[in-house]
Amino acid sequence: MSDHTVAHGTFVIERAYPHAPEKVWAAWADPTQKAKWFGAPDGGMPAEMFDFKPGGRESRHGTIPMVRLSPSTSLTRTSFH
């Protein structure tokens, strides 16, 4: 009847940074800081919306390189929005 499928997945990543929680927090909470690491490495994926509060929304649009690990590792340009 249809080719609609759902794969449910969960992953956990742990990192230890040599910086205080306040500094790491600011990298997520401050729009200028987040734009420097989230998305394109040159800051080429600016936020169209960045409302850092419960219920707030964040939206970005751009073309960024993403590494795909399957079926074989290759660099693929993927639209992310």
Binding site: M1, S2, H4, V6, H8, T10, P54, G55
Partner: protein, 157 residues
């Protein structure tokens, strides 16, 4: 407010509920997509009285349900629809608030598959349960109660 110096914690858990209904996927989908139909089965125990419910069933649309036992804590359900494939799939994210305390954030996927003339429903919920307020098995039990409500509703109409 219930947010005084409570220890912060997160418990991650998933559960899956499967049900088979005699009604078609189109009929079951309508029980989720029509505001009047959903209000007929999506609610707490009878003694809670009627919740305050609103639904904007489209991708990006919101749904809220606010209610609770008389004189007891007020529960708020706040959802955003993320993906809708008519008669086949509904995905929404939601959070729960208990008297002002954020108690959980979840992602729910409902798949409807033809099962003879009826429907095989697969309900998958992936959740983050916050600060010890609620437990995954309690949420699963509550969701099974809702699926019982849905089955009774479908048999009535």
């Amino acid at each position: 407010m219930a947010t005084e110096t409570k220890t912060r914690s997160v418990t991650h858990a998933s559960f899956t509920i499967e049900r088979r209904f005699r009604q078609s996927p189109t009929r079951v989908f309508k029980a989720f997509s029509s505001e009047a139909s959903k209000q007929a089965w999506f609610h707490g125990p009878e003694e809670w009285g009627r919740d305050v419910h609103q639904m904007d069933f489209r991708v990006g649309g919101r749904e809220t349900s606010v209610g609770g036992p008389p004189g007891g804590p007020v529960s708020s359900f706040r959802a955003i629809y993320q993906d809708i494939v008519p008669d086949q799939r509904i995905i929404f994210s939601y959070d729960m608030d208990l008297d002002g305390a954020e108690i959980s954030v979840s992602l729910t996927t409902i798949e409807l598959k033809p099962d003879g003339a009826g429907t095989h429903l697969v309900y998958t919920e992936q959740g983050a349960y916050l600060d010890g307020w609620d437990k995954p098995d309690g949420r699963e039990a509550g969701t099974r109660d809702l699926m019982d409500n849905l089955e009774r509703y479908l048999e009535q109409v």
